[in-house]
Point group: D2
Chain length 418, copies 4
């Protein structure tokens, strides 16, 4: 087991740990530790809401989830010898839930998937699913099941939803400018178009006083992925992956968190995948000058690991860029994927699951979401693939019609208003 | 070998064959033959441009490609017993290039990938690649190589780019209305937002006279995928797949064509994948009332085949929804995928290929394009995966920098204007 | 399609074709054609019994199968520039049943699996299955089913059971000596320990007269695999494979045949796999001096292709080296594999198939047979893996017990004596 | 994390733990604990030599390995409700090295592979490799490397080498009789044909006094696999597997141990795979009367997990049943596999590794060993597949010849005599 460079105590809040992480992006957040090239380290990670979500049968915690507090990130870590223009190599040696523990913190043998309510973040299908829902998943070795979604079991594809390097001061300004411009086009929108810097609930490592206040006022939110990697929610960042990040500041200032036990392509429920705390073992190295050498000035490139799970039977759904109201959009793959997902939900509902159960499942299980045709004017085509082997019943279409599952208690729904 | 229900003679144009197919969607195009439930058939398919593209080192044919003439479709086939509301089951038993032939027609041992010029269709990256280019691929068993893109070889994933049932009269009206409305928002756009019905070069099976004229004036173009399936360009419709289509007219009136030897997710160059003629062996059946039973009122659902190719090492690129000009867009996966593809092209260019060669390669090789984060406001994240094993050189990043390939003659570019 | 260097007419016997192949190994059998390094060729292949087995519901033809006549091999082919000490590279570009034909010859849309009778060859489980049985398989695209074994369907893994280079004169003498010595230890055994040279039914290409007689008296039988490759029955020699053969004579004198649509590891029924005629497209090249350079003085080495089928769910059985009579043998993996196979047969019989149906199935379907422990004195352990997805019913053990299939007419059994 | 039903303290010997396991098979060894059907448990496992092998650069410990002391097994566990005739279902939920520890005990971040000397057990290739060698492997997340075998890195396939139920009194007598009969055929053989009951170093749980002495004199050694499962060394018993064991005594009395970080098919070096201590999480259930219902009266059946590693490029070697001295054996797959392995060793030696390094590697890496032809008299054919992606250099044959690796210090060899 590698040296634990960032330890967490599951019984304490994120701000009362031995080392304090952060939840905003800013070049001036001081590194918590230094990593050497060619060395391996273990980094504990807090689940993104710092313990606010409970292992119970209510979705009120999802409805009231403290979005200003996310993401509880471990870091930043200074990498010895990394300078702007380099590529930082991060090998994900291992990643998993909180080891050897059971308890009330997500990651202690369980995790959760939530559908964010329209008034608190919203989700990919916010128009169809405006309310908050939750599903709790129990881990059993490498597999998971949920009392809120009976009839499915699948193997985890554990990965960090978020990892990235610190932005340079210039890059941060660029972010704040362009996102501010977008917000300005519809500032009252619910959910919002983007999240501006927010001093409330900011955590900035060891910063204090005026420095804290200034950085809290400038620091970019961690919700979106950006040039530095960040919250990419790529379900294929599994054990054995090698990721290359552009370096924008001296030391790279690498941070990570938002571990998922599993996630479907898209993290469609927003409070998505199966959220948990845990650990990640990484090995770091640097390709000097690699950004120019390889033409990688932004956004991570990576080589996914060769671990499974391997599924060989899939049922797939397709969608095109026509809205539910029948309006033709021009080559809109985002919309096409929404339509494909809606088709999958409608289909699963024929087997007895509620639509919310189906939606939560598609956010959590290792479904594949693919761009199919992106040029066939005016309709793009997107497809989503469900591994049929995760279902207890045979979900393939046949002349005998869909078998019926017992949906059990269903997925808890939050009472409104919050 | 199943009965050949739709034979083609490679030496004759599409309109001089024993049976005449079609290149528009309309419920009144008469079936060319009837298929029985539970039976298997072979259907020959013409390459989509009916032989207009040559096996040579010029891209002028791509620049001047007769878009009004596409797609040369085999069918429609009436399926005995299929009625509106049913699901039509099509098993793709086998699909391949024109068997046992060599010659000048795409599919006779070779195929092509083109980048459409801005003035003639455009492509996924039309702003960056406004001119026409071409690459010819030679088939060697299940694999292919191109003299225009040295240094790569890959296994085909043969599939029909287009398959679908006929629309009902009402559905056709819906299509024409909604697509017309879109065109009306910017009727002079180049390339256009959508393609309206076009009598020029229409092929409508056995229709003649006034019926021909009327249907030619109403028939929907075959470019986009729609509720009936159609030009979905799903690279995973390979041998062994089972596809379920909604049935909108009595007899279903199934048609197919646009075979690809291989295609990357998205068919990003538009004249994309590796285009060819060939054959497809299908088995048909019907789930009576299946549309309602399974909640599938539109868009095909399918189970992909279990054949390979299997690749275990990938290099992946990510992109987010910020334009090249730095403008922040709101959760635009289409843009994110463009940015990921552009990153891959920039990267490959560091190894010696021209950007056009890289672009053509990504359109043709079995790359995977995935939706990663689709909810992390304001940036969606898309990823594209390249199988590293298709390259003669090691394309993985390392401290030693990119090896250099000899790009050879390069991909032919069309002289302008056409 | 590559040049057809060895054509076969399905309506004529093997000895009345344009070019005559052979069914014995001898360095003096003259090449039928010359292949150039770096070129590709199509070679038609006759099914191994030259049409003696029929598509009917009797196993008498299996009981009386003319073993002296096998294997009907295409070749030998001289490879330009290949000399003793080189490694011959053979790329299997494509391989399949007889293209575009239906008819009474195995390979024309169908193939067969037989259990050889004890008196005519025997099989891996000859003590348990002394009589002759047959199953006919129908090909439907890449998949096959059998009216004699209902309830299963699987994807073919087409491969040549036999391919190899000609032995040198010295090597041939070595073979005849060592195999003769073995036979001499029990010359009356039924089935025999090995097959000596046999002039009866010998086919030796263009040889005639005294040369024919001499070579017929010396030529090694094609049943066993040997240093030159030969009848290795490696089910993984699929499309896309690259095989390296030692070269023992000038020109290498490559031959091939015994195509299988599919085969389980071991070809356990002897008349095994799914036998058929067809074609194979190969590309040849040479590594000069490669035998010494790579330390490959005997037995092919190879890189299997990356095509599927891909299965992800398996049910496996194990066996150890104790005989059915309870005798402990010392680390005998051959016996362990027999015991594992017998366990699988007993298991499948609980679902309603006859034991002969189960045995035929395990010989034909793509089962995996593996060496597990080979050192744990005194018991070796072997395992056999069945892909559960090929069965119509769920064959996994559960508390509800085995579902029952309708075994139909069963596998035809030959009446004795022949 | 499930309840730890069998804890081990890494700092104490196997006989000084809180609960004492065993190293012989006997129905009268008392259960250490009871497991409930439908429940999950964690069981710590000691490496098989109870800490006798060191993380150093000497093989003397392998030469002197205390064979009488193996295997240090955790158990036996009584399963509530299991009775003779039932099938015991064991789900391997998770399995891995000793969690969260580094140290001198195998499993604390490292493991070892040894070649047993002829005088102390011998190995699969004992005639070619009579001396003792060792390689130490360092774990880095899911992957491992060895300072004794530079140039390779691979992903672990962690599995228990040994798991099984207790024999009935009758079954134990059968074992002792048949193995004694075998030993009697050559009692002085080195290495021996089999291992008789051996009171020296016997560990028998809580047994004491006369009971201990009697059971120690009767208890079967744990080296071989037998009807009860036992030391099957099946590398595919990975996380996610479900195994079914016959039950011979009331309560089943399940035991397990001999964890491997990885192993090649066959565990060919005997002190094989990568040996380590660690943990295994299991879930147990019972199919009442399952032995008869499913025809499984002996030897485990199982469904392997769907986790990787996935490799798509392999280099394979074949062998036939002719001895190195040129003697023809009759269908001897054990010999064929030896010859295939020897071919692989000769080949790897051309790249600069010593033959002992190659042999150790093939024992530890996830190579696949398959039965190919088992009926082609007189030669069986066996094949062994090496995943090429585990090597730092390209090991595929080419015209340019083998690249050379630096073999470093090599694998330590023991000085003789011990």
């Amino acid at each position: 087991m590698p040296e634990v460079i960032f330890p967490l105590d599951s019984t304490k809040p994120f701000t009362e740990q031995k080392l304090t992480g952060h939840n905003r992006w800013h070049p001036e957040i001081p590194p918590v530790a230094t990593l050497k090239r060619g060395e391996s380290y273990r980094i504990d990670c807090r689940e993104w809401f710092d313990g606010a979500i409970k292992n119970d049968d209510s979705a009120d915690d999802i409805r009231d989830a403290p979005l200003n507090r996310v993401h509880a990130l471990s870091g930043p870590f200074r990498i010895e010898g990394a300078e702007p223009g380099d590529l930082l190599i991060v090998d994900i040696l291992d990643v998993g839930p909180i080891p050897q523990e059971e308890g009330p913190l997500a990651g202690q043998g369980w995790g959760y998937t939530g559908i964010f309510a329209q008034k608190n973040g919203g989700s990919f299908l916010v128009d169809q699913f405006p309310d908050a829902y939750k599903a709790v998943w129990d881990f059993r070795g490498g597999e998971c099941t949920s009392r809120h979604i009976p009839g499915v079991k699948f193997t985890g594809m554990v990965h960090p939803g978020l990892m990235g390097t610190a932005p340079s001061s210039e890059l941060l300004k660029t972010w704040n400018k362009r996102e501010g411009d977008l917000i300005a086009t519809d500032p009252q929108r619910v959910p919002p178009l983007a999240l501006p810097p927010e001093p409330d609930a900011a955590i900035l490592g060891s910063l204090t006083g005026a420095d804290f206040d200034r950085v809290a006022g400038e620091g970019a939110r961690t919700a979106p992925p950006r040039e530095n990697g960040g919250n990419q929610d790529i379900k294929n960042f599994t054990k054995g992956s090698r990721v290359f990040y552009p370096v924008y500041v001296s030391g790279a200032n690498l941070s990570m968190g938002d571990l998922h036990f599993s996630q479907g392509d898209g993290e469609i429920t927003f409070c998505g995948g199966i959220e948990m705390g845990g650990f990640i073992d990484i090995h770091v190295d640097v390709i000097k000058g690699g950004m120019d050498t390889y033409g990688v000035s932004e956004n991570a490139i990576f080589m996914p690991g060769r671990n499974g799970p391997v599924y060989s039977e899939w049922l797939a759904f397709s969608g095109t860029s026509v809205t539910l109201d029948g309006e033709q959009r021009y080559l809109d793959s985002h919309l096409s994927y929404q339509r494909a997902i809606l088709h999958a939900i409608d289909y699963l509902a024929k087997f007895g699951w509620s639509k919310e159960q189906a939606y939560l499942l598609l956010g959590a299980a290792p479904i594949e979401g693919r761009f199919s045709g992106v040029v066939d004017i005016p309709n793009s085509c997107a497809t989503v693939y469900l591994p049929t082997e995760i279902f207890d019943v045979d979900i393939r279409p046949s002349a005998s019609g869909p078998m019926q599952v017992d949906p059990g208690m269903g997925a808890p729904r939050a009472m409104n208003p919050g």
